[in-house]
Amino acid sequence: MDDVLHLVSAARRGDSRAFAALHARYAKMVHAVLLSRLVPAEAEDQVQEVFLLAWTKLPQLEDPRGFGAWIATIARNRAVDHLRRRRPTEPLHDGLVDQAASPQHAVEAAHVIATIRSLPEAYRETLVMRLCEGMSGPEIASVTGLEPGSVRVNLHRGMMLLREKLGIRKTSAANE
């Protein structure tokens, strides 16, 4: 947390390299917040917009230690504003088309991300951070400000709902 305090303080003084370091640390979380609400192409674009907005609003951040939760709120508000400006559609997957091994993979990813989006809000962001961005539970707790225990609960409950919706029967008892 001390390094975040240092980075935020430096960024507030105009240090763009410190802000770049904040981006490196929080971009995946911001993207996950956006991806849990927007289609992949839009989520990708909005990450930059969120960080640019954060850069301009940084002097307004009262507690630098709350940077993670603060920028997550900016991302959620940004997603809401974006959705209000256009009618929501079925989830897209063009963000992965260039990287997917096949259209089949693109279809699968679109289906899974759409299913995650149908979950309660408390679970979808955490699941996207874990399953899509590859963030670990402790890392998720660190950047969101949530307690590790809360992250663990969100992941497991969210995963249980996701399995139900995808029709997966739990085969492993490793995570009990």
């Binding site: 507030r12 105009g14 240090d15 763009s16 802000f19 981006h23 490196a24 971009a27 995946k28 911001v30 993207h31 991806l35 289609v39 992949p40 192409a41 990708e44 990450v47 930059q48 960080f51 301009t56 009618r87 929501p88 559609t89 079925e90 897209l92 997957h93 063009d94 992965l96 088309v97 260039d98 990287q99 091994a101 096949s102 089949q104 993979h105 693109a106 279809v107 699968e108 990813a109 289906h111 899974v112 991300i113 759409a114 996207v128 399953l131 899509c132 961005e133 670990s136 539970g137 663990r152 992941l155 497991h156 995963m159 399995r163 995808l166 029709g167 997966i168 492993s172 490793a174 995570n175």
Partner: protein
Amino acid sequence: MSDYLFDGEGTPDPEIEQLERVLAPLAYSGAAPDVAPRRRTPYVIIAATVVAAAGVVLLWPGKKPPPAKAGWTLTVLRGTATIDRHVVVTSEPLAPGEWLETGAGRARLDVPGIGTVELGPGSRARVIASSPLLHEVELSSGKLSARVAAPPRHFAVTLPHARVVDLGCAFTIELDEEGRGKLVVTEGAVSIGAPDVTVSSGEACELDEHGHGPPHALVAIAPAAPRPRPQSAPRPHGKNVPLPTHTPIGPGDDATPAGPSRRDSFREHGL
């Protein structure tokens, strides 16, 4: 106690691993935005930059920049069309993300290696994917007729409440402003929805805010000569645990008219 889902430790859960593999391509990999060093009056600098950038845009010659990914060309067939409110009279490239509106006119989109898409009056659409693996159009409203000469699943149409994936065919979609309408397949087949359902030549299905209805035969349209059904594609390499092993048949299926059997698993429909 190890917990693979929480911290990635311990015995990996195969379903979680599979989900990670499926979703990994969506992970963020962008660079930090280029921010100007903060000065005493940052808002003035940022505002000035925005104004200057707007001025550059306004003063720039009126030529449209080339699309990020080449391939989609709009040709106006009747009347005029607009691309992000820029009026098109004859022909121009259409870049992904740009909204095309036909107004009272008609237009055609040509995609090399894919085929053609015609848009009727009152249509609003945009390209949302354009790559060697997938070309995709989002139809907000209006009428879209596609004739596709590409391998299966290389072309798709996203609708407000459903997604249509081409399996090698010709089809037409009509939508009103509320996203309600009809899909009609005149050649080959498409899959729609998730889990996907196949709609074959000579069949149609209704589109509404809940997605789509079951396929039903269209008596008025004579089915085209039957095409060979797409063959199953080789499974992807590596560990492959099927995700939805079974989707319960929902209510109302007993009333589904006889026709192609519903494909309950979105993975089952191979190429």
